[in-house]
């Protein structure tokens, strides 16, 4: 199916808007196992959606059949990678509950209702040379796209990845060659034996910026681990917060994160936040 046909008169569960809107229809073109039970889902979308897309942003995906009301709400998914030439979005999907299990069962040719891109982005500062990326579990998704961006800008990238066991680790072949890739497993079956955040301390003085994506518990560990090695707020740390979402557009205020500036919608002013701005 060509790009032009996609999103034209087609409708699937929960969509009807023309391509110009941020609500559109994509077509699944592939679903490949990648790590543990997680798969990479490739979706052809209108070219304009992919253009200029940056890491950290996400899409709200309808995860149910057209005639069903369950699960009712869309599920947010970070972009794992883009293929700008083909107009393709890649998502990393781990079957977890009902929505993600439905998404994991998609096959090439299936259509998906998407809303996005939503949220803010990870921001690499103009003077940064050395960047430290830290991923926990499927939190690896936006970190891969960020690694692509950083390497594209000629920066030095160290990528720390933690998982409970070996199958949960991202294969090194998924990352650009120039990335230094260091892994940790909770059971010690590969790499460092323990939390990935323990490794971060060694890089604090080297890094101009730290970027992380994983469960909230990982951010708390990270804060403790790097605290003694930081000079004031240097290096800065950007983290992506996971919240259950309804609208994805700042309308319902169901997804807020408490920051020094009050309760802010993580779908608009997030999901990426400065670690030091969040009230834990």
């Amino acid at each position: 199916m060509s790009q032009r046909q996609l999103g034209g008169d087609l409708t699937v569960a929960g969509t009807s808007a023309p391509v110009r809107s941020r609500e559109f229809v994509g077509e699944v073109v592939g679903i490949e196992p990648i790590m543990g039970d997680a798969a990479v889902l490739s979706v052809d979308v209108p070219m304009t959606v992919v253009h200029g897309l940056r890491s950290g942003r996400f899409f709200e995906i309808t995860c149910r059949d057209e005639v069903a009301f369950d699960p009712l709400l869309r599920r947010p998914y970070s972009v794992y990678r883009i293929d700008a030439e083909r107009g393709r979005l890649l998502f990393l999907v781990r079957p977890f509950g009902r929505g993600s299990a439905w998404l994991s069962r998609r096959r090439p040719g299936d259509r998906l209702a998407l809303l996005g891109p939503l949220g803010n982005t990870y921001d690499i500062g103009p003077t940064s040379q050395n960047v430290l990326l830290i991923a926990g579990g499927v939190g690896v998704a936006p970190m891969v796209m960020l690694a692509d961006e950083a390497i594209g800008r000629g920066l030095n990238v160290t990528f720390l990845m933690g998982a409970t066991t070996v199958p949960g680790l991202l294969p090194a072949t998924e990352l650009p060659d120039r990335v230094e890739y260091v892994v940790a497993t909770d059971d010690g079956s590969k790499g460092y034996h323990g939390f990935v955040t323990d490794l971060a301390a060694d890089y604090v003085r080297w890094a101009d910026q730290i970027f992380a994506c994983g469960p909230e518990s990982m951010y708390l560990e990270l804060r403790t681990a790097i605290g003694p090695h930081r000079i004031g707020r240097r290096p800065t740390v950007q983290v992506s917060m996971e919240r259950e979402m309804a609208c994805g557009l700042g309308a319902c205020l169901g997804c807020v994160v408490e920051t020094r500036h009050g309760m802010v919608a993580s779908c608009i002013q997030g999901p990426v936040f400065d670690l030091d701005e969040i009230i834990w």
Binding site: E23, T62, F69, P71, L73, C247, A251, L253, M263
Partner: protein
Amino acid sequence: MSDELWTPDLTVDLAPNNPRELRLANPVIAASGCFGYGQEYAGVIDVERLGAFVSKGITPEPRGGNSMPRIKETPAGMLNAIGLQNPGIRGFIRKYPKLWARMSVPAIVNISAETVDDYAMMAALLDEQPAIAGIEINVSCPNIARGGYCFGWDPEMSADVTRAVGAATTLPLIVKLSPGAVDVVAVAEAVEAAGADAISLINTLVGMTIDVHRRRPTLGNVTGGLSGPAIRPIAVRMVYQVAAAVRVPVIGMGGIMALDDLLEFVMAGASAIQVGTGIFVDPGLPIRLIDELTEWMTRHGVRRLDEIVGAAQPAAARQFRFAGVETAGDSA
């Protein structure tokens, strides 16, 4: 049916007794709490095409809202306990009326308070503002003078609020009923007598879920408001009962996800409808409803929406209120 070209008339006046009127181009309204302040969906749908939109609930003072989690999906629905996070009436007035002045779609302000005086105070402030088409009074709030008993559960308390707001403004007033009322019809009759220009219903139903892993209530606020398709039959029943008892226009809502759902509310007696949760799930829904309703009316030879408002009501109720309404059976 003759062959002459015609397009159905979707317009509706929700405040026929008020000189300021509340005239809508079509009966599809974005519901309070589900559409922010009319700006959030700008890049997603053509907001100007809506019949109207209702703002998030505004309170006398700014509110930070409840602790997280604030939302929980439930079977064919969702619970929310946002806790009325909003900038307060003064913060609202500083920012939004001037943004709304650039839009042509009618903007309705939803207000919540814990005392009758506070409701009136907000109404008086709104009365002086440009670009506000009407006020929707959310009576689903605890009345602190009555030990926190919800205004909307009691006919007299709901009427007190309506009267006080009516004395403070000439803006069209919609009173939004709570489904938690012991007798929702009694509340509807009381607010109509107290001067409501229109009645909207239903607000969310109080519910809760328990996180069995943590052995605790899921929501930070313990309980939340249930919305979405799960509540629709209850909402349709309440609209049907209220519409038969009052003469002011009724605005129906609760779980509308498709044209047939909209038609259910209209045939139950609603002159307009609101879409809430459906917008989260399917932002294009309200605009699609307008298009599909136009197409449906054309196909069925319905020239004005009035012709089907209350079509499912028994004959006696139709005579009392829906003069001119014909059911499919009558007209075929």
